[in-house]
Symmetry: C2
Subunit: 270 residues, 2 copies
DNA sequence: CGTCGGCCCTCCCGCCGCGGGAGGGTCAAG
DNA sequence: CTTGACCCTCCCGCGGCGGGAGGGCCGACG
């Protein structure tokens, strides 16, 4: 029987941390003295403590550590761990992208931005919509678009999305992805027939992957702000060239459409 | 002049976050209405906001972001950013190591551990000591050892270290690294002449780099606990083969010496 | 000119995993 | 039996963000 201090020395986990793991039900001491409350551990618990230690080094939340430890089946457990490793890799990828983008931002080369004012008529589409958080969008998008493509084998144009402004201001809001159709589709699963309203858009094209799309957003937004206009509705994105066309992200083309009030009405002299 | 909501849409930073950055002095609005407190931003602030966004994606703390933004000289600023990238790489390295170690821990193969009881006489050494935190040790060690090696060109044995138990139980404590000498060295810099006390050690050898050294610690500790004895003083490490000998970490050999009360006295029948 | 809905304000709380510290009980060696 | 090391619980703080309450401000309408 090891006291908490001895166990701490054997596992290199601090006493405080061991107590916390006890409270969280992660690492129950082999025996707890009823009157004094003293915790006593067993040498067999050392490997368990080390597994916890490793998982924490990987920033696995305590609840997930709990889940993993509770899982008896090694395969399922392996899958849970693998899932976390996948997320770590995703994060690494995002880190790499952020580094690259940061370096570009710090060496500012004047980017010439072509902005086009475009009148878009009302458009019948097949759509999948949801209320999502800002950081859930990337997880939500692929499934929604896959369902759309299955339901609409012959779209009448490139896919797109509408993103409510609250998504950015509040970090949560309404998002909708669509495929244009020539005639209204039948609803199935999450797919619905929707008619997008006509709008006037200020459009800029973002080249490449979406890691730096906020830069183009900012440039387009500056242009819109500098040329008057107020924003009128959710931002639109149109995926002219995307992962469906080429695996080379540098070839992707995404149009960003910023809805504005029609130019005639934007003359505010009245 | 952009309201905070408009600016939020342009930068994809939430309103709350923008307010926080204002409070932290990171991103001062171009104008703040005195009576209403309304924040108004300028389109020129968009790139600044995006730099902040990128740095935060890299988990750079707000205070450091502040430092970086305040730095006018691009070279110094680049150095600060590079420093953070270096830390990211270190962390990545540790993550990699933790993953590897975790996989080994989850596929437990019975490790046969050779433990030797060894009586170590008092030993004159040149030593560098400090009070350090658990996670500062790795940063502190190289400099201390380099200073030692400069002061002791012809050591009388392999280098080693003594680590107080509080270092693990409290996360902070006394650490000492040494080089054995044949006669007491003169003090210089942080180097001091010290005589290590005689002890009885339970010794196990840890092969390879130190990423998994806690596993060996645990195994040795189990052995000590299962064979009686109480711990008597700081743990010792002896670096038989280390980075000074070979760059191949798999060849490293580190002895872990767990001080125990002399075996005769460990008979607790009295 | 008043009203109303949307925007913005400040202030406080919660989250996670950990450390710090207060205040007090327990254990074992002398 | 005393002493000092050890252990206990409980509360607070950190950093960066979100949630929510409670209340002013703005501008487009009637």
């Amino acid at each position: 029987m090891l006291s908490i201090g001895e166990f701490s020395q054997l596992t290199h986990l601090s006493i405080r941390t061991l107590r916390r793991y006890h409270d969280a039900g992660l690492l129950e001491p082999a025996r707890v003295d009823e009157t004094s409350g003293y915790r006593y551990y067993d040498t067999e618990q050392i490997p368990v403590a080390q597994v916890i230690h490793r998982l924490r080094e990987l920033d696995v939340p305590l609840v997930d550590v709990h889940r993993i430890l509770r899982t008896p089946d090694p395969d399922t457990r392996g899958a849970l761990v693998a899932e976390h490793l996948r997320r770590l890799e995703d994060q690494l990828e995002r880190t790499r992208a952020a580094v690259a983008s940061l370096q570009r931002l710090l060496r500012p080369e004047p980017t010439r931005l072509d902005v086009e004012l475009r009148r878009v008529p009302a458009m019948p589409v097949a759509a999948v919509a949801a209320d999502v958080g800002h950081d859930e969008v990337l997880d939500w998008y692929p499934g929604a678009m896959a369902e759309l493509e299955a339901a609409v084998p012959h779209p009448a144009g490139p896919p797109g999305g509408l993103y409510d402004n609250e998504l950015f201001t509040d970090g949560r809001g309404h998002a909708l992805v669509y495929l244009p159709v020539s005639e209204p589709p039948t609803s199935s699963g999450r797919v619905r027939a929707v008619t997008l309203p006509a709008v006037e858009l200020a459009v800029a094209t973002h080249p490449g992957d979406h890691d730096t799309i906020d830069v183009t957003y900012g440039e387009l937004g500056s242009w819109v702000a500098d040329h008057t206009l107020a924003v009128a509705g959710p931002v639109r994105e149109i995926y002219l060239v995307g992962p469906r066309h080429t695996t080379d992200p540098t070839r992707w083309r995404t149009e960003i459409g910023w809805p504005v009030f029609p130019v005639a009405a934007a003359d505010r002299s009245g």
